[in-house]
Protein backbone atom coordinates (compact mmCIF):
# COMPACT_ATOMS: atom_id res chain seq x y z
CA UNK A 1 0.00 0.00 0.00
CA UNK A 2 1.29 3.43 -0.83
CA UNK A 3 1.15 7.09 0.10
CA UNK A 4 -0.32 8.78 -2.95
CA UNK A 5 -0.54 12.35 -4.25
CA UNK A 6 -3.45 12.92 -6.67
CA UNK A 7 -3.02 15.63 -9.30
CA UNK A 8 -5.99 16.66 -11.47
CA UNK A 9 -7.58 20.01 -12.24
CA UNK A 10 -11.14 18.73 -11.73
CA UNK A 11 -12.40 18.03 -8.26
CA UNK A 12 -14.63 15.29 -9.69
CA UNK A 13 -11.68 13.27 -11.00
CA UNK A 14 -9.69 13.84 -7.81
CA UNK A 15 -12.62 12.59 -5.73
CA UNK A 16 -13.09 9.58 -7.99
CA UNK A 17 -9.41 8.64 -7.83
CA UNK A 18 -9.39 9.23 -4.07
CA UNK A 19 -12.29 6.78 -3.68
CA UNK A 20 -10.71 4.18 -5.92
CA UNK A 21 -7.28 4.38 -4.28
CA UNK A 22 -8.70 4.51 -0.76
CA UNK A 23 -10.78 1.40 -1.49
CA UNK A 24 -7.52 -0.31 -2.48
CA UNK A 25 -6.02 0.45 0.94
CA UNK A 26 -3.82 3.35 -0.15
CA UNK A 27 -3.30 6.53 1.81
CA UNK A 28 -4.04 9.78 0.01
CA UNK A 29 -1.45 12.19 1.36
CA UNK A 30 -2.44 15.16 -0.77
CA UNK A 31 -4.16 16.62 -3.79
CA UNK A 32 -3.09 19.21 -6.33
CA UNK A 33 -5.11 21.00 -9.01
CA UNK A 34 -2.26 21.99 -11.36
CA UNK A 35 1.34 21.15 -12.19
CA UNK A 36 2.90 23.92 -10.09
CA UNK A 37 0.99 22.81 -7.01
CA UNK A 38 1.91 19.19 -7.77
CA UNK A 39 5.65 19.94 -7.81
CA UNK A 40 5.40 21.89 -4.55
CA UNK A 41 3.35 19.18 -2.85
CA UNK A 42 5.70 16.44 -4.08
CA UNK A 43 8.62 18.25 -2.44
CA UNK A 44 6.67 18.64 0.81
CA UNK A 45 4.99 15.25 1.05
CA UNK A 46 7.45 12.87 -0.68
CA UNK A 47 4.66 10.47 -1.71
CA UNK A 48 5.33 6.89 -2.88
CA UNK A 49 3.36 7.56 -6.06
CA UNK A 50 1.71 10.41 -7.97
CA UNK A 51 -1.32 10.10 -10.25
CA UNK A 52 -0.87 12.96 -12.72
CA UNK A 53 -3.44 14.42 -15.11
CA UNK A 54 -1.89 15.54 -18.41
CA UNK A 55 -3.94 18.57 -19.41
CA UNK A 56 -3.95 21.12 -16.58
CA UNK A 57 -3.68 24.91 -16.22
CA UNK A 58 -0.46 26.76 -15.22
CA UNK A 59 1.87 23.78 -15.68
CA UNK A 60 0.71 20.68 -17.55
CA UNK A 61 1.25 17.12 -16.36
CA UNK A 62 4.23 16.39 -18.60
CA UNK A 63 6.10 19.49 -17.43
CA UNK A 64 5.24 18.71 -13.81
CA UNK A 65 6.46 15.14 -14.31
CA UNK A 66 9.79 16.43 -15.66
CA UNK A 67 10.18 18.79 -12.69
CA UNK A 68 9.43 16.01 -10.23
CA UNK A 69 11.90 13.66 -11.95
CA UNK A 70 14.56 16.39 -11.75
CA UNK A 71 13.99 16.55 -7.99
CA UNK A 72 13.66 12.81 -7.52
CA UNK A 73 14.75 10.56 -10.42
CA UNK A 74 13.15 7.57 -8.67
CA UNK A 75 9.70 9.22 -8.48
CA UNK A 76 6.83 6.92 -9.45
CA UNK A 77 4.30 8.80 -11.56
CA UNK A 78 1.23 7.32 -13.24
CA UNK A 79 -0.17 9.60 -15.95
CA UNK A 80 -3.95 9.97 -16.39
CA UNK A 81 -5.42 11.32 -19.58
CA UNK A 82 -8.53 11.34 -21.71
CA UNK A 83 -9.33 9.10 -24.65
CA UNK A 84 -7.66 10.40 -27.80
CA UNK A 85 -4.58 11.75 -26.04
CA UNK A 86 -2.69 8.46 -26.08
CA UNK A 87 -0.03 9.98 -28.29
CA UNK A 88 1.16 11.65 -25.08
CA UNK A 89 2.19 8.20 -23.84
CA UNK A 90 5.57 8.14 -25.54
CA UNK A 91 6.34 11.65 -24.39
CA UNK A 92 5.31 10.80 -20.84
CA UNK A 93 7.23 7.52 -20.79
CA UNK A 94 10.27 9.31 -22.26
CA UNK A 95 9.92 11.87 -19.50
CA UNK A 96 9.95 9.17 -16.85
CA UNK A 97 6.31 8.15 -16.24
CA UNK A 98 6.07 4.60 -14.90
CA UNK A 99 2.45 3.94 -15.85
CA UNK A 100 -0.45 5.32 -17.80
CA UNK A 101 -4.24 5.19 -17.43
CA UNK A 102 -6.81 6.49 -19.88
CA UNK A 103 -10.09 8.05 -18.73
CA UNK A 104 -12.72 6.70 -18.32
CA UNK A 105 -11.13 4.06 -16.16
CA UNK A 106 -12.28 1.21 -13.97
CA UNK A 107 -11.31 0.88 -10.34
CA UNK A 108 -9.70 -2.60 -10.51
CA UNK A 109 -7.55 -1.66 -13.52
CA UNK A 110 -6.33 1.53 -11.85
CA UNK A 111 -5.53 -0.37 -8.65
CA UNK A 112 -3.62 -3.00 -10.65
CA UNK A 113 -1.59 -0.35 -12.42
CA UNK A 114 -0.81 1.46 -9.15
CA UNK A 115 0.16 -1.85 -7.52
CA UNK A 116 2.49 -2.70 -10.42
CA UNK A 117 4.13 0.71 -10.36
CA UNK A 118 4.55 0.65 -6.58
CA UNK A 119 6.18 -2.77 -6.88
CA UNK A 120 8.58 -1.60 -9.59
Amino acid sequence: MGRILIVDDTMFMRTLLKNILFSGGHEIVGEAADGTEAVAKYQDLKPDLVTMDVVMPKMNGIEALKEIKKMDPGARVVMCTAVGQEQMVKLAIKSGARGYVVKPFQAPKVLDEVKNVLAS
Binding site: L16, E86, Q87, V101, Q106, A107, K109, V110
Partner: protein, 267 residues
Protein backbone atom coordinates in the same frame (compact mmCIF):
# COMPACT_ATOMS: atom_id res chain seq x y z
CA UNK B 1 -6.50 -31.62 -46.72
CA UNK B 2 -6.71 -31.97 -42.95
CA UNK B 3 -8.88 -34.43 -41.05
CA UNK B 4 -10.23 -33.41 -37.67
CA UNK B 5 -12.24 -35.29 -35.04
CA UNK B 6 -15.46 -33.49 -34.09
CA UNK B 7 -18.98 -34.10 -32.85
CA UNK B 8 -21.64 -32.87 -35.28
CA UNK B 9 -25.20 -32.05 -34.29
CA UNK B 10 -27.48 -34.27 -36.36
CA UNK B 11 -31.14 -35.27 -35.90
CA UNK B 12 -31.34 -33.98 -32.32
CA UNK B 13 -28.17 -35.90 -31.38
CA UNK B 14 -24.39 -35.66 -31.64
CA UNK B 15 -22.44 -37.80 -34.13
CA UNK B 16 -18.72 -38.50 -33.65
CA UNK B 17 -16.88 -38.25 -36.95
CA UNK B 18 -13.78 -37.04 -38.74
CA UNK B 19 -14.40 -34.05 -40.97
CA UNK B 20 -12.15 -33.21 -43.91
CA UNK B 21 -11.01 -29.61 -44.03
CA UNK B 22 -10.09 -28.73 -47.59
CA UNK B 23 -9.05 -25.46 -49.21
CA UNK B 24 -12.53 -24.47 -50.29
CA UNK B 25 -14.84 -26.78 -48.36
CA UNK B 26 -15.39 -28.87 -45.25
CA UNK B 27 -16.76 -32.36 -45.79
CA UNK B 28 -18.78 -34.07 -43.08
CA UNK B 29 -19.01 -37.82 -43.71
CA UNK B 30 -22.06 -40.11 -43.40
CA UNK B 31 -24.50 -40.26 -41.78
CA UNK B 32 -24.49 -36.44 -41.91
CA UNK B 33 -23.07 -36.41 -45.47
CA UNK B 34 -22.78 -32.68 -45.91
CA UNK B 35 -20.33 -30.52 -47.83
CA UNK B 36 -19.92 -27.01 -46.52
CA UNK B 37 -18.60 -24.68 -49.21
CA UNK B 38 -16.56 -22.14 -47.25
CA UNK B 39 -17.64 -19.15 -49.35
CA UNK B 40 -21.27 -19.98 -48.45
CA UNK B 41 -20.58 -19.39 -44.76
CA UNK B 42 -21.90 -16.01 -43.63
CA UNK B 43 -21.50 -16.18 -39.87
CA UNK B 44 -19.68 -18.05 -37.16
CA UNK B 45 -20.33 -18.22 -33.46
CA UNK B 46 -18.40 -19.91 -30.73
CA UNK B 47 -19.61 -20.73 -27.25
CA UNK B 48 -17.17 -22.69 -25.10
CA UNK B 49 -16.16 -25.54 -27.40
CA UNK B 50 -19.20 -25.41 -29.68
CA UNK B 51 -18.88 -23.79 -33.07
CA UNK B 52 -22.04 -22.79 -34.94
CA UNK B 53 -21.64 -22.22 -38.67
CA UNK B 54 -24.33 -20.23 -40.49
CA UNK B 55 -24.75 -20.69 -44.23
CA UNK B 56 -26.25 -18.40 -46.88
CA UNK B 57 -29.30 -20.66 -47.17
CA UNK B 58 -29.88 -20.13 -43.43
CA UNK B 59 -28.87 -23.67 -42.39
CA UNK B 60 -26.89 -23.99 -39.20
CA UNK B 61 -24.22 -26.58 -38.52
CA UNK B 62 -22.99 -27.15 -35.00
CA UNK B 63 -19.64 -28.74 -34.24
CA UNK B 64 -18.03 -29.60 -30.93
CA UNK B 65 -14.34 -30.27 -30.56
CA UNK B 66 -11.24 -29.40 -28.57
CA UNK B 67 -9.80 -25.90 -28.77
CA UNK B 68 -6.88 -26.91 -31.01
CA UNK B 69 -9.18 -28.46 -33.64
CA UNK B 70 -11.67 -25.58 -33.51
CA UNK B 71 -8.78 -23.15 -34.00
CA UNK B 72 -7.86 -24.85 -37.29
CA UNK B 73 -11.50 -24.96 -38.47
CA UNK B 74 -12.12 -21.34 -37.56
CA UNK B 75 -8.93 -20.20 -39.27
CA UNK B 76 -9.87 -21.92 -42.52
CA UNK B 77 -13.44 -20.57 -42.37
CA UNK B 78 -12.45 -17.02 -41.48
CA UNK B 79 -9.95 -16.83 -44.35
CA UNK B 80 -12.41 -18.16 -46.93
CA UNK B 81 -15.98 -17.37 -45.85
CA UNK B 82 -18.27 -14.70 -47.24
CA UNK B 83 -17.25 -11.64 -45.21
CA UNK B 84 -15.67 -8.22 -45.38
CA UNK B 85 -11.99 -9.10 -45.05
CA UNK B 86 -8.78 -7.14 -45.27
CA UNK B 87 -5.15 -7.69 -44.45
CA UNK B 88 -3.81 -5.09 -42.05
CA UNK B 89 -1.82 -4.51 -38.90
CA UNK B 90 -3.77 -4.61 -35.68
CA UNK B 91 -3.13 -4.11 -31.99
CA UNK B 92 -5.68 -5.87 -29.83
CA UNK B 93 -6.16 -5.28 -27.00
CA UNK B 94 -4.28 -1.97 -26.81
CA UNK B 95 -6.12 -0.42 -23.85
CA UNK B 96 -8.06 -2.34 -21.23
CA UNK B 97 -10.21 -0.64 -18.57
CA UNK B 98 -8.41 2.62 -19.21
CA UNK B 99 -4.95 1.13 -18.73
CA UNK B 100 -2.62 1.08 -21.71
CA UNK B 101 -1.16 -2.31 -22.34
CA UNK B 102 2.49 -1.41 -22.53
CA UNK B 103 3.64 -4.63 -24.20
CA UNK B 104 0.90 -4.53 -26.88
CA UNK B 105 2.44 -4.88 -30.34
CA UNK B 106 1.30 -4.44 -33.93
CA UNK B 107 0.54 -7.78 -35.55
CA UNK B 108 0.04 -8.50 -39.21
CA UNK B 109 -3.08 -10.46 -40.00
CA UNK B 110 -6.61 -10.44 -41.31
CA UNK B 111 -9.55 -8.44 -40.06
CA UNK B 112 -12.73 -10.31 -40.86
CA UNK B 113 -16.14 -8.72 -40.33
CA UNK B 114 -18.99 -11.22 -40.20
CA UNK B 115 -22.69 -10.71 -39.48
CA UNK B 116 -22.25 -10.79 -35.71
CA UNK B 117 -18.54 -10.39 -34.97
CA UNK B 118 -15.28 -8.75 -35.92
CA UNK B 119 -12.35 -11.17 -35.91
CA UNK B 120 -8.63 -10.39 -35.75
CA UNK B 121 -6.81 -13.39 -37.18
CA UNK B 122 -3.15 -14.37 -37.38
CA UNK B 123 -1.75 -17.89 -37.77
CA UNK B 124 -1.47 -18.12 -33.97
CA UNK B 125 -4.25 -15.85 -32.71
CA UNK B 126 -8.00 -15.38 -33.12
CA UNK B 127 -9.65 -12.48 -31.34
CA UNK B 128 -13.42 -12.19 -31.62
CA UNK B 129 -15.31 -8.96 -30.87
CA UNK B 130 -19.11 -9.33 -30.94
CA UNK B 131 -20.61 -6.40 -32.85
CA UNK B 132 -23.21 -5.97 -30.10
CA UNK B 133 -20.35 -5.23 -27.68
CA UNK B 134 -18.80 -2.55 -29.88
CA UNK B 135 -19.14 0.78 -28.09
CA UNK B 136 -17.25 3.03 -30.48
CA UNK B 137 -15.54 3.26 -33.86
CA UNK B 138 -13.24 6.16 -34.57
CA UNK B 139 -10.76 7.27 -37.23
CA UNK B 140 -7.85 8.68 -35.28
CA UNK B 141 -4.10 9.07 -35.35
CA UNK B 142 -1.51 7.09 -33.45
CA UNK B 143 2.24 7.31 -33.32
CA UNK B 144 3.81 4.33 -35.08
CA UNK B 145 7.60 4.17 -35.48
CA UNK B 146 7.87 7.85 -34.66
CA UNK B 147 5.29 8.90 -37.27
CA UNK B 148 1.66 9.86 -36.76
CA UNK B 149 -0.38 7.34 -38.70
CA UNK B 150 -4.10 7.09 -39.40
CA UNK B 151 -5.73 4.20 -37.57
CA UNK B 152 -9.22 2.93 -36.85
CA UNK B 153 -9.93 2.53 -33.18
CA UNK B 154 -12.53 -0.05 -32.14
CA UNK B 155 -13.81 0.13 -28.57
CA UNK B 156 -15.77 -2.77 -27.14
CA UNK B 157 -17.01 -4.03 -23.81
CA UNK B 158 -15.41 -7.07 -22.24
CA UNK B 159 -16.39 -8.12 -18.72
CA UNK B 160 -18.06 -4.69 -18.29
CA UNK B 161 -14.76 -2.98 -19.05
CA UNK B 162 -13.81 -0.96 -22.11
CA UNK B 163 -11.20 -2.54 -24.37
CA UNK B 164 -9.72 -0.68 -27.34
CA UNK B 165 -8.08 -2.15 -30.42
CA UNK B 166 -6.38 -0.39 -33.32
CA UNK B 167 -6.23 -1.24 -37.01
CA UNK B 168 -3.48 0.16 -39.22
CA UNK B 169 -3.43 0.01 -43.00
CA UNK B 170 -3.46 2.43 -45.92
CA UNK B 171 -5.80 5.38 -45.51
CA UNK B 172 -8.25 4.49 -48.31
CA UNK B 173 -8.76 0.98 -46.86
CA UNK B 174 -9.11 2.39 -43.35
CA UNK B 175 -11.80 4.75 -44.58
CA UNK B 176 -13.71 1.82 -46.12
CA UNK B 177 -13.34 -0.21 -42.91
CA UNK B 178 -14.48 2.75 -40.82
CA UNK B 179 -17.52 3.38 -43.03
CA UNK B 180 -18.41 -0.31 -43.08
CA UNK B 181 -18.14 -0.70 -39.30
CA UNK B 182 -19.99 2.57 -38.70
CA UNK B 183 -22.82 1.37 -40.90
CA UNK B 184 -23.21 -2.04 -39.25
CA UNK B 185 -23.01 -0.58 -35.75
CA UNK B 186 -25.24 2.40 -36.54
CA UNK B 187 -27.85 1.23 -34.03
CA UNK B 188 -25.32 1.82 -31.27
CA UNK B 189 -25.10 5.55 -31.96
CA UNK B 190 -25.51 7.70 -28.84
CA UNK B 191 -26.63 10.74 -30.79
CA UNK B 192 -29.62 12.30 -29.14
CA UNK B 193 -28.57 10.98 -25.75
CA UNK B 194 -29.03 14.30 -24.03
CA UNK B 195 -27.06 14.00 -20.81
CA UNK B 196 -26.22 16.95 -18.60
CA UNK B 197 -22.95 17.16 -16.70
CA UNK B 198 -24.38 15.48 -13.58
CA UNK B 199 -25.73 12.59 -15.68
CA UNK B 200 -22.31 12.22 -17.31
CA UNK B 201 -20.54 12.25 -13.95
CA UNK B 202 -22.85 9.56 -12.63
CA UNK B 203 -22.34 7.46 -15.77
CA UNK B 204 -18.58 7.77 -15.33
CA UNK B 205 -18.76 6.82 -11.65
CA UNK B 206 -20.88 3.77 -12.48
CA UNK B 207 -18.34 2.74 -15.12
CA UNK B 208 -15.53 3.19 -12.60
CA UNK B 209 -17.26 0.71 -10.30
CA UNK B 210 -18.76 3.02 -7.69
CA UNK B 211 -21.97 1.86 -5.99
CA UNK B 212 -25.01 4.04 -5.30
CA UNK B 213 -23.98 4.90 -1.73
CA UNK B 214 -20.52 6.01 -2.83
CA UNK B 215 -22.01 8.07 -5.65
CA UNK B 216 -24.48 9.63 -3.25
CA UNK B 217 -21.70 10.60 -0.85
CA UNK B 218 -19.34 11.81 -3.57
CA UNK B 219 -21.83 14.04 -5.33
CA UNK B 220 -23.95 14.94 -2.27
CA UNK B 221 -27.15 13.76 -3.94
CA UNK B 222 -30.28 12.13 -2.60
CA UNK B 223 -31.16 8.58 -3.60
CA UNK B 224 -34.17 10.04 -5.45
CA UNK B 225 -31.85 12.19 -7.60
CA UNK B 226 -29.64 9.20 -8.34
CA UNK B 227 -32.65 7.02 -9.14
CA UNK B 228 -33.95 9.63 -11.59
CA UNK B 229 -30.60 9.71 -13.42
CA UNK B 230 -30.34 5.90 -13.35
CA UNK B 231 -33.81 5.78 -14.98
CA UNK B 232 -32.62 8.18 -17.66
CA UNK B 233 -29.55 6.04 -18.43
CA UNK B 234 -31.65 2.87 -18.45
CA UNK B 235 -34.27 4.42 -20.76
CA UNK B 236 -31.51 5.43 -23.17
CA UNK B 237 -30.26 1.82 -23.17
CA UNK B 238 -27.01 3.08 -21.74
CA UNK B 239 -27.31 1.06 -18.54
CA UNK B 240 -29.01 -2.01 -17.11
CA UNK B 241 -30.24 -2.82 -13.62
CA UNK B 242 -27.59 -4.98 -11.96
CA UNK B 243 -29.25 -5.47 -8.59
CA UNK B 244 -31.85 -3.82 -6.37
CA UNK B 245 -30.83 -3.19 -2.79
CA UNK B 246 -33.15 -2.34 0.06
CA UNK B 247 -32.82 0.04 2.98
CA UNK B 248 -34.58 -1.18 6.12
CA UNK B 249 -35.22 0.03 9.65
CA UNK B 250 -35.81 -2.15 12.68
CA UNK B 251 -39.23 -2.79 14.17
CA UNK B 252 -39.81 -2.71 17.93
CA UNK B 253 -39.04 -6.45 17.97
CA UNK B 254 -35.75 -5.87 16.17
CA UNK B 255 -34.77 -3.06 18.49
CA UNK B 256 -35.67 -5.24 21.51
CA UNK B 257 -33.48 -8.01 20.12
CA UNK B 258 -30.38 -5.88 19.64
CA UNK B 259 -30.93 -4.18 23.02
CA UNK B 260 -31.10 -7.57 24.74
CA UNK B 261 -28.12 -8.83 22.77
CA UNK B 262 -26.10 -5.83 23.88
CA UNK B 263 -27.14 -6.33 27.52
CA UNK B 264 -26.24 -10.00 27.52
CA UNK B 265 -22.88 -9.18 26.02
CA UNK B 266 -23.29 -11.28 22.93
CA UNK B 267 -22.62 -8.29 20.72
Amino acid sequence: MVEAPVKVRHNEGWINCKISIEDEQIIIPAPVSQTIVLKNIVDLQEKKNTLTIYLKDKTEIRLVSVEKVLFVIKHRILMKCSAYRLMAFFMSPAIRGGVLITNAAWEKGAIVVLKSDIWFVTPGKQICIPLTDVSGIEMTKREVDGKKQDVVRIDHLEDQGLVSSFVLTQLSTLQILYNFLSEITAGLSVEGADLDSMDQQIAMLVYSGMDSSTIQNMLQLTFKDIDRIYDKLINLNMAEVKEIRREIHLTAKGVRYITDATKSGTN
